[in-house]
């Protein structure tokens, strides 16, 4: 089943819509009155200096953090009501990437896939291969280097049917080739009608529609 991401029935090209978000931590206001719309076919980079609230924002958007005020809509419906739909079309990779160190890359991916929809082994091997982990499929992840572990996590993107990718500093510990490769993956996904929200401190070089939201300049303006 190859659904079109611009679902013609729903009439919403905006996938995720956050309005008037307010969040404070330790009595420091991270952001207030923040509006953000992410539509199919675009990439949004959240920028900001260390501690400006990028991770917090991403975790709020994907529903892991509920300490905020404001509204978040998924395809025009409230996130809390659409939770199941939302979760099955979203994938999140955070600072802690969710790779078990005892299992092998293959087993890790198999479980990740099964949480959404099980897929067959060939796709898993192919995904790992595309991320440069051929011959590492069956080595326990504790024996992988930092960058290789990151690659295991990223190969989830290739086997997931999700249309919205939320990625927190996905370029961390990747080598130069890895960075290029991920950038082309992102472009591919966005050009195929997907959407990406990510944070990174690195100068992004993608060939698709993208814009940045700078938390620092917002605060300076306020």
């Amino acid at each position: 089943m190859h659904t079109n991401l611009h679902n013609p029935d729903s009439g919403f090209s905006s996938l995720l819509q956050a309005s008037a978000l307010f969040c404070e931590r330790d009595e420091r206001v991270l952001f207030s009155g923040l509006d953000l719309t992410v539509s199919a076919g675009e990439l949004v980079q959240i920028k900001g200096s260390n501690g400006s609230g990028k991770t917090t924002l991403l975790r709020i958007l994907c529903g892991l953090n509920e300490d905020y005020e404001g509204d978040i809509l998924w395809k025009g419906e409230s996130l809390s009501e659409e939770r199941e739909n939302f979760l099955s079309s979203m994938i999140y990779i955070g600072h802690r990437v969710g790779v078990n160190r005892i299992l092998t890359p293959r087993e890790n991916l198999r479980w990740s896939a099964s949480l959404h929809a099980p897929i067959d082994d060939n796709r898993i091997v192919a995904a790992l291969g595309r991320l440069g982990l051929r011959a590492y499929e069956d080595i326990p992840c504790r024996n992988l280097s930092a960058g290789q572990t990151q690659r295991v996590a990223l190969s989830r993107l290739l086997i997931s049917p999700a249309c919205l990718w939320i990625l927190d500093e996905p370029f961390t510990t990747l080598d130069v080739h890895g960075v290029k490769h991920l950038e082309s993956l992102l472009s591919e996904h966005v050009n195929a009608g997907g959407a990406v929200i990510l944070t990174t401190h690195h100068a992004l070089n993608v060939s698709c529609q993208w814009r940045a939201l700078d938390l620092d300049s917002r605060r300076a303006a306020a």
């Binding site: 199941e84 802690r96 299992l103 099964s114 929809a117 326990p140 049917p161 999700a162």
Partner: protein, 236 residues
């Protein structure tokens, strides 16, 4: 990119598959570590043998306390292995992935709890007659001991899971767990040990089993919900 980009919700079949995959994953992790399989048994054996060492090797003395000792050891064995239940997943981020699954969390948590019981509870049940023998439990009470443990240990896993879920985000380990989990498990312990002692005195034990069964049914339906809610809070 020719992959289907879905935006639909999970069906019953995929819930069942996610349940099985999670159960299998936890068992595979335990098998790979090997220790995880051996350790509950060893721990149980060791704790049970600590008591004669600390108390007295006298058969008469021991036979009086044996039911209690086996039950307390079973509880401690189950509790010590609880830490494995969510901690590693929390630390490597797998728990976030679990919470972000579109499948009902109840079933995923239940799968993890069942895996925990299979690893830590079942071996204890299987081994208990041997230990009962070593502690001079009268032989007419063996079956009662095994049966109460069979019903009781899953309850310990299910309740224990709530405690771990509540504390998994905190820095401190082990003990807070004990403080939360032990009081929850006390009723099971009391009923289980009482049933065994009653059999030794020739008293009827039907009502004890009825009560244990009721607690298990309650735990099976409610505890995973509580664990799921606790996990959401801890990961926040």
């Amino acid at each position: 990119m020719n992959k289907p980009l879905s935006d639909g919700a999970g069906s019953d079949i995929s819930t069942w598959q996610a349940f099985c995959a999670t159960l299998k994953r936890d068992l595979v992790i335990a098998f790979k570590r090997k220790n995880d399989l051996l350790n509950p048994i060893m721990f149980f054996l060791i704790v049970v043998s600590l008591f004669p060492l600390g108390i007295s090797p006298d058969p008469v003395e021991l036979s009086k306390v044996s039911a209690g000792v086996v039950w307390v050891s079973a509880l401690l064995a189950s509790m010590l292995s609880l830490d494995n239940l969510y901690r590693a997943d929390y630390e490597d981020g797998s728990l976030e992935q679990l919470l972000l699954s579109p499948q009902p969390l109840y079933f995923l948590v239940l799968a993890k709890n069942i895996a925990h019981w299979l690893i830590s509870g079942l071996p204890v049940v299987v081994l208990s007659p041997l230990l009962a023998y070593m502690l001079y439990l009268p032989s007419e009470a063996y079956w009662t001991l095994v049966l109460t443990l069979m019903i009781g240990t899953p309850v310990l896993s299910l309740f224990g899971s709530i405690g771990v879920a509540l504390t998994v985000g905190l820095g401190s380990r082990g003990l807070i767990l004990a403080v939360i989990v032990l009081p929850l498990s006390t009723p099971v312990l009391i009923i289980g040990a009482k049933a065994v002692t009653d059999v030794m005195f020739g008293l009827p034990v039907g009502s004890h089993f009825a009560l244990l069964g009721a607690i298990l049914a309650l735990a099976l339906t409610m505890a995973p919900l509580a664990s799921a809610a606790a996990l959401r809070i801890s990961v926040n």
